[in-house]
């Protein structure tokens, strides 16, 4: 049974921000409720006030411009991202990632913003956005600020939002030429939260060597984890299978994964090796084809 709360359904960002300014810590935002309602039913959260952003149509958009890159409104549903032709064309990895995010029912109601702000390190969008060097636009009644996607998660289910702030937009820059990005996760059933997941972005230099690499892992730590040592190993080198295996091994040492009914810490470390290698391989192929 959900504990009693007062419910608000603002229609504009401004209205939502003034409610947040008023109730601060006592309020919780719901932007689809696919995660929030579960924790409320379990009474892990018992907010006094619930601010439902679903009615703010201004934040439901996907915009693309070659110079500015991709802009996704925080209240865009997962299914819209999965099916967007412009995303499929220019940021295929985002669409692929969404295709394995939970069930179609969840994707049809849950929002990208809600997912990111829930701060679950097993979530899929965050590592992909980190690999794509995305930025997040946060708003409060005092103004707006931009943070790196990578800086947003602070701890398990904790993100860098002030009590009076909300996420309004995800900004994904257009990747440099010869960049390939991929995301895969270990799941038992299609749509499972990742047991371990890896997002890898590789940019090739003019000689075909690795000019830049980004590796972000899901469910490998208390936050979406950038495997920086593994990235370092790749950058500046010509990538081959041996190097990718090595990168997986290094990433595995960077991970501090949880243990639960789906896998032990040791197994997850082994899976970091497998998925970094596999996903980097795929990203490399894409970079070569790009």
């Amino acid at each position: 049974m959900i504990a009693a709360f007062e419910y608000f359904a603002p229609k504009t960002v401004r209205e939502a921000l003034s409610l947040l300014a008023k109730y601060k810590e006592e309020a919780k935002i719901i932007a689809g409720g696919q995660s929030m309602l579960v924790v409320m039913k379990q009474r892990l959260l018992t907010p006094e006030y619930l601010i439902d952003l679903k009615g703010i149509t201004d934040l439901d958009y996907i915009k693309y411009d070659e110079g500015k890159g991709l802009r996704i409104g925080a209240l865009t549903i997962h299914r819209a991202i999965e099916k967007s032709p412009v995303i499929q064309k220019h940021f295929g990895v985002l669409s692929e990632m969404e295709g394995n995010l939970a069930t179609i029912q969840t994707r049809n109601w849950g929002t990208i913003g809600g997912n990111i702000c829930h701060g679950d390190p097993a979530g899929d969008p965050a590592p992909v956005l980190i690999a794509l060097k995305a930025k997040l636009k946060l708003a409060s009644s005092a103004g707006e600020r931009i943070v790196e996607a990578e800086e947003f998660s602070k701890d398990y289910l904790e993100v860098a939002l002030e009590p009076n702030e909300m996420l309004t937009e995800i900004q994904v820059p257009t990747p440099p030429a010869h960049t390939g990005t991929a995301y895969e996760k270990l799941m038992v059933m299609k749509g499972d939260m990742s047991i371990i997941g890896a997002a890898v972005s590789i940019t090739l230099d003019s000689k075909g060597g690795c000019g830049d690499a980004r590796i972000a892992l899901s469910n490998a730590a208390s936050v979406p984890l950038r495997a920086k040592k593994a990235e370092k190993l790749l950058i500046g080198k010509t990538i081959n299978n041996g190097l990718l295996t090595k990168a997986g091994e290094v990433a595995s040492t960077e991970a501090t994964p949880p243990a639960d009914v789906h896998g032990s810490i040791e197994y997850r470390r082994e899976m970091v090796k497998v998925f970094v290698k596999r996903v980097a391989q795929l990203a490399l192929e894409r970079a070569k084809a790009a």
Partner: protein
């Protein structure tokens, strides 16, 4: 598949389900859909401890909450205990002195709405003294271990020791003797519809109970006893049931008792709907079991002897465990010839939720162990898995002959050899040898298994099914059955049998589901017994009604009753079919002119009682089944050798000897969904993970069960044996094939990778470490 079998108007073909339209249009009413005037909502207060003494229960705050109409605790039931049989009545409707598993019911509330009832439950203050518990059989069997039931020393719930032939001598004479221990996990039954009930007292002497029960005459008897009423005053009404698969929907839940007690206290109807969380934490589960099989064979792979030891976690209460342990042993002598057989069974009480029947009840555990071990033996001897099975399998007895096992199990028909041959042919088994099995990180493999299951299960006490065929004066027919369709399609089969016998159409039959005020008493839907027993009752009731009508027809035509018959809704003189009249006219004449008959046909089943008597659980002899189904299955898997993820594929064939497929479509879809998919689930996905009595994955996100994405299809081959003890030759369908999936899948994993997964399920991490170990061993 559009195959048809036999020369019947309706049977032996694909028959559309009589309940399909109501279900797909949402018209079907399940227990949770029932609303009655003035209804209250109930909730259960449950123990947070797995084992604790109840020192005090204070319900005063709950009672004072506005909207609360009544509160009940175990003491209200006056010491009443219930159980599967007389000696096993060890459970109270709500715990009184002690709780024995986590979330056991302690008190219940009826209030004006669900939230108020829940709020009131939270206000009930229970003082507990936590007790040390036992959570595995190995803990339970230790000397000095805490006792789950103070009067059950050693925590022993069930123990059997059987010995047939001379196992030791046979082992000494064997060329190869292998001993392996296998493990099967605790599993949810997997019904989509959690238990729900609405109960009320129309007057102070009568109960009406409407609930999701697969065996409605269980609550009929138990509630009569509990509330000290004659059976005539207990009315059980069965709505549409959202599947069962054994266990909870046969038995009682705290909500069943509480609904009736709270309805009595308030004088108002009370409804309980179990949440998915409560269903997954407290409903009955498949027994976790440790099965040690020791098998001796000749150099040619002929089975000489098996010694089987099964250790089971029975959970907090006995429930149906004596039957489970019997079933684990009894069919070990099928489907292969086994001249010497020993069985030692130990079922322990633990502080886990109780274990009970689930599809393939009992046989599932021992068949998994023995059939996988048979492949291990074949590998050691250099024999082919199909070859070793064909060598050992029981031949189909000639008509009139009976195959008798060493433990006095009797088989009139056995299609297992034909099943094995047809499956091997369908998957082109021979050609598979030496094929490339690895693509990238994916290894492919195929495994084989055969299985059996008892059908028309007969237990001590009441076994017969009964039926009433009521022919209405306009020619329409009411069929009153005591049997309950829990999704297996028995309403369709019973209607089809009645229509077939009467010579009319399926749509002329209106089946009345169980209402104990009107329908005949029935043992229930368990042990694959409904088609065999209720089908026999349906046949006899329809024959009874038909003979009454044929007498009238004979009079009309001036011939003897034996000279007329009914087909395609026409009654005709057999020797000159042009002398005929329409069914409706015959019925009208019977009801109005002769002078004014009421056509009611009655019948009850006898095969289960008359054939060879009943099984003796303690000695392990005799038949639990009226007849036995047989299956062979070949399963393909793909294994991701880097991650350990196993996937089953569409390359799967099941040949099933259900005697005679009364409804081909029902047999095929049950074998696909109820056998292959449930088998995949057991082999690869499902397991409750526990920590000191606490369920760690009590939701359908963390408790893995395949959905459409993970559920490939299988080809189904019908093998016809026409069993003399089943209606129209029928035996059970699809419980046997539920038992062949896990061993065939585990053997397929071995075929793909070379590792044997002896403890189910083959979840990724388990497979991963097994593969890693094998690789490291290979490097050394």
């Amino acid at each position: 598949m559009d195959e048809t079998f036999g020369n019947y108007s309706i049977l032996g073909k694909a028959i559309p389900r009589v309940d399909a339209r109501a279900k797909v249009t949402g018209q079907a009413k399940y227990a949770a859909d029932i609303e009655v005037a003035n209804m209250l909502w109930g909730q259960i207060n449950r123990s947070p401890y797995a084992h604790a003494r109840i020192l005090n229960i204070d319900t005063s705050k709950a009672e004072a909450l506005p909207g609360v109409k009544a509160v009940t605790t175990g003491k209200d039931f006056g010491g009443f205990k219930w159980g599967w049989s007389g000696p096993t009545r060890d459970e109270e409707p709500l715990a009184v002195e002690k709780v024995r598993y986590q979330y056991e019911g302690v008190a219940a509330v009826a209030a004006v709405d669900e939230d108020t009832a829940q709020e009131a439950c939270d206000l009930i203050e229970v003082d507990y003294e936590p007790l040390p518990g036992v959570f595995t059989p190995s803990e339970a069997m230790q000397e000095g271990a805490p006792l789950v039931h103070d009067d059950r020393p050693g925590n022993i719930c069930v123990e059997y020791h059987w010995n047939f032939g001379d196992v030791d001598k046979a082992f000494a004479e064997s060329y190869l003797v292998r001993e392996d221990t296998f493990q099967t996990p605790r599993m949810a039954k997997g019904y989509l519809e959690p238990p729900a009930v609405v109960a009320y007292w129309p007057d102070p002497e009568r109960i009406v109970y409407i609930g999701a029960k697969g065996s409605p005459y269980f609550p009929y008897r138990i509630l009569a006893k509990c509330f000290d009423l004659p059976l005539s005053n207990v009315r059980i009404i069965t709505p549409i049931i959202g599947s069962d698969f054994g266990g909870t929907k046969n038995d009682m839940t705290p909500a069943d008792f509480s609904a009736v007690m709270l309805a009595k206290k308030t004088g108002r109807p009370v409804k309980f709907v179990t949440s998915q969380f409560d269903a997954l934490t407290t409903d009955l589960r498949r027994h976790p079991m440790w099965i040690t099989v020791k098998t001796g064979v000749t150099k040619d792979g002929i089975l000489k002897a098996t010694s089987l030891k099964a250790v089971a976690d029975g959970g907090a209460y006995t429930r149906i465990s004596p039957l489970t342990m019997f079933l684990v042993g009894t069919c070990q002598t099928l489907p292969y010839k086994l001249p010497n057989f020993k069985y030692d069974a130990y079922n322990y009480f633990t502080n886990n939720p109780s274990s009970a029947a689930m599809r393939g009840h009992g046989l599932y555990h021992s068949r998994f162990a023995a059939d996988v071990q048979l492949d291990m033996i074949a590998e050691e001897l250099g024999l082919d898995p199909v070859e070793i099975r064909l060598k050992n399998s029981i031949e189909n007895p000639k008509p009139g002959e009976i195959y008798e096992t060493v433990n006095d199990v009797h088989v009139a028909t056995c299609g297992v050899q034909e099943c094995i041959e047809k499956v091997a042919e369908a998957v082109n088994w021979k050609a598979r040898k030496g094929q490339k099995k690895v693509e990238g990180d994916t290894a492919y493999g195929m495994g084989f298994a055969a299985a059996t299951y008892n059908s028309g299960t007969k237990l001590s006490a009441h076994n017969a099914c009964a039926a009433i065929v009521r022919v209405c004066e306009d020619g329409s027919v009411n069929y009153l059955t005591g049997a309950t369709d829990v999704g297996q399609g028995s309403d369709t089969i019973m209607s089809a049998i009645v229509a077939e016998v009467l010579g009319i159409r399926l749509e002329d039959i209106d089946l009345k589901r169980v209402d104990s005020a009107f329908t005949p008493v029935d043992p229930g839907s368990y042990g694959s017994r409904v088609t065999v027993h209720a089908g026999e009752a349906a046949t006899k009731a329809a024959e009874d009604a038909k003979s009454q009508l044929l007498e009238v027809a004979a009079q009309q035509f001036g011939v003897k009753p034996g000279d007329v018959d009914i087909k395609d809704k026409k009654v005709f003189v057999k020797s000159s079919p042009e002398r005929n009249m329409a069914w409706e006219r015959l019925v009208r004449i019977a009801c109005y002119e002769t002078p004014g008959k009421v056509i009611i046909g009655r019948g009850y089943s006898t095969q289960g009682i008359s054939m060879y008597g009943l099984a003796d659980f303690s000695k392990g002899v005799g038949d639990i089944g009226t007849n036995y189904s047989f299956t062979a299955q070949a399963s393909e898997v793909e294994v991701d050798v880097e991650t350990g993820v196993v996937k089953c594929t569409d390359n799967n064939v099941i040949a099933h000897d259900c005697g005679f497929p009364l409804n081909t479509q029902a047999v095929e879809t049950q074998v696909q969904g109820g056998s292959y998919h449930q088998g995949i689930s057991a082999a690869v996905y499902e397991e409750f993970k526990m920590d000191s009595g606490q369920t760690l994955n009590p939701n359908l996100v963390d408790y893995k069960r395949p959905r459409a994405y993970e559920a490939p299809m299988t080809q189904v081959i019908h093998v016809i044996t026409n069993d003399p003890y089943g209606p129209f030759g029928a035996k059970e369908a699809s419980e046997g094939s539920c038992c062949s999936a896990p061993p065939s899948i585990v053997s397929a994993i071995h075929d793909a990778t070379g590792v044997w997964i002896k403890d189910l399920p083959a979840q990724p991490e388990k497979v991963f470490w097994a593969l890693k170990k094998k690789r490291e061993k290979g490097q050394k």
